[in-house]
Amino acid sequence: MTLTTPTRRQLLAMIGQVAGAAAMYQAMTSMGFAAESGYAGAPELQGPRQGRRVLILGAGIAGMAAAYEMRRAGYAVKILEYQDRTGGRCLTLRGGDRYTEMGGHEIACDFQGDGYLNAGPWRLPVHHRAVFDYCRRLGVAMHPFIIKNNRAFLHSASAFDGQPQRIGDVEKDMRGHVSELLAKALNQGGLDDAVTPEDREKLLEGLKDWGVLDRNYTYRASDDLGGVRGWDIPPGGGLMPEKKPSQPNDLSRLLHSGLWDQVFNFNSYSFEPPMFEPAGGMDAITDAFAREVEDVIQLNARVTRIAQHDDGVTVTYEDGGRGGTVREQTADWCICTIPLSVLAQIQVDCSDAMRKAIAAVPYASAFKVGLEFRRRFWEEEDGILGGVSYTDLPLVQIAYPNYGFLSAGPAVLQAAYDTATGGRNFTYSWSSMTPQERIDAALAFGRQIHPQYDAEFLSGTSWVWHRVDWSLGCYGQWTQELRDEHYKTLCEIDNRLVLAGEHCSHIPAWLEGSLLSALDAIKRLDQRENA
């Protein structure tokens, strides 16, 4: 028996030889390997039997991906979109853009250079495999997104006299101090119950290198540490001054500064380097989908009613937006990607449980401010090329452009950004400000980190997701209790209707969640069609 049972690796190799890489990948996925994002390649749909016509509501990434794949499988698709643009929350602001937010204020973007502000998604982890696969298939050019730049800043208004500290310095100091403490405990026999004598020796040896400790297991300035942490006087050429290693920060001061906590911003698997972004703005991804399906998209269509009957759906919409000509569109199936915040205000024929689910999910607060400056002073004077700085000021983070390095002329900082997921209350207050007030506040806080702000400022723009009438918030703010009660119902096919979008995923707010939700919805719809 053992002779005839192949190992998993042998089995996979056999499948690969016989059926090709795609089949091997499918097999790997079903066996639990390589299944990081739940993405198993482009969906293999059987195609329509009776119900050929599919009406999709919303031309964001979920709606357009659903249209793209269902049409490939032979369905007749149509998309109704409320806005006069495609892309949904995948949105990039550039110079010349104008937008009227809820409350009537105009968002103006007057950037002079080629800088931009991604109002929604702005960086992609490589394990979001569906996004990367579609970018590959649709020809979206990517460049690296520097998520962690050791030279970017950590800042607290109440620590280090308000002087920003380098991320790398804080991280290495904490590593050094913790290594020293652990070595001390090991040497004093404090951990003899936990480690064998052999392990203790290995640990001590490793801690010395890892934390850059001296022969007495002390973390202190040395040429060795200079080679790891950097220099007060860096090694130079010719007759330049003798090098001098940098001085570590005191442990207690670091612990009370809050800066160690800020390093944890980089710990998330979602922000694991390397990350990527499409060249020229995140909307390159949805633009690529729009190119594939633009002939089936009807813009300026505001859905007011989703009616279901035995053999199909009838969607009523206002052609031209609120108050426009009322029209109806019938179809065999409906895929609705309208955010739940808006959908809850639309009359939908569905089960009571689904209606409750639609109305149950709060939509998260999130905002951004983008500021354009005359020149890249953060590169020229602070040596920060790309990456993100964090602060305990209400602006929370400053992200530097990861394109156009060293170029002359204007450049754009993502100068303030937070979401409700961070747990801080600042985002609500930013959202309650006028566009001008947001810019003023971002400048007032930002100059505490970059004093060059005042001299170099050109113009600013902002985005507040709670003031966007087609999303009424940024993303579905699920809790475990809400998921237990409503998630499955929300995602199930209700007669002829299925919902999709980031709100129908376990990766809220991310493009990957929207894509996986759409792919899963159309797979189940296709199965239902062919059942």
């Binding site: 809820m102 505001r302 999910v361 709060p362 209400p394 003023d440 506040a441």
Partner: protein, 149 residues
Amino acid sequence: MTPNPLYLFAALTVLATGALAQQTSTPPPPAQDIDTLLSRFSDDPDHFTQTDGADLYRATCQACHMEDGRGAMGAGAHPPLAGNPKMRSKHFLAGVILTGYHAMPRFGHMMSDDQVAAVTNYVRSHFGNDFPDVITAAEVADLRPPEDE
């Protein structure tokens, strides 16, 4: 040591360029205005530190319900608090602030009973609303879901 005249010249040029840039950039708003503006943020990221109903409204509710309490409408709508019959019940409004309602997030974990009472009473006595009955912090405490306590 005498400074090298070339270096001095370079430094002056940089200063002059900086001054020029300063002149052509938009002047920052007056300090008083900025302080007032920045005071609209809580001093604590976890809990609102404002205590006055108007200040709390401006830091939270105003994002959606707007300066005039009339909400806003487009594809979807943020409901008005002005002339809204649901405002008749102080318990309803305080409960919504505590636990959220439909797409509206909850604020109970970021506001004390006193703060929820203050903003509830503010909304019910402004924007054309004129309900005489006020809610007390003790009444808010009774409405608070157990997990908030």
